[in-house]
Point group: C2
Chain length 113, copies 2
């Protein structure tokens, strides 16, 4: 389901170049930029350019494009390994409605749960 862009979305603003971001990769469908957080040395976000919810990304063909960009950028920036993840809802601390895959690495990450 398309989510109407009736409210402010920081990822849509970054895609439209109305908010700053360090962009590492971009094609017609996907953008990868640095997260503003710095909990670990590498924190990137792979984001579909079309505004959609997490569940739409993960259950549609769009995931192939976002997943490929995420895996390739993880390998390019994290020689020792990396974790790809998406958060859904409160228990996972999802903070942005616009779908995204986190790329984290650059240090030993420890257990995943």
């Amino acid at each position: 389901m398309m989510v109407p862009m009736s409210s402010y979305c920081v990822f849509c603003e970054i895609i439209a170049r109305r908010e700053p971001a360090t962009i590492l990769y971009e094609d017609d469908n996907v953008i990868v930029f640095r997260n503003r957080l710095n909990w670990v040395p590498v924190m990137l976000l792979a984001v579909p350019k079309q505004h959609m919810e997490q569940s739409e990304l993960w259950t549609s063909e769009v995931i192939t494009k976002v997943a490929k960009a995420a895996a390739e950028q993880g390998a390019a920036h994290c020689a020792g390994g990396f974790r790809l993840l998406s958060n859904f809802g409160y228990d996972a601390m999802q903070s942005q409605p616009h779908a995204h895959v986190h790329i984290v690495g650059g240090t030993f990450l420890g257990e995943y749960a």
Copy 2:
């Protein structure tokens, strides 16, 4: 790239029903079963039936099938939200070569890195 099944793979054994597992979902391409770990209340694994490496899963069309099953099983078993993730290499503590997406939830998960 196909990885020849020259060595023991516990996920291939589960798919072949030679190792036990609690299977929650299965189709021609994907299987979802409970992780043997119990760090959080819900720990599931979404696995392509074909033996392949993480990087092949995430850069091929196979990810659409695994991602959809993972998102649907997460929503079905984790009312409060869930995290989908894949670990690549040492820094992320990847322990199985056979590609897989973790589904974790059933409690407040905290930060993701």
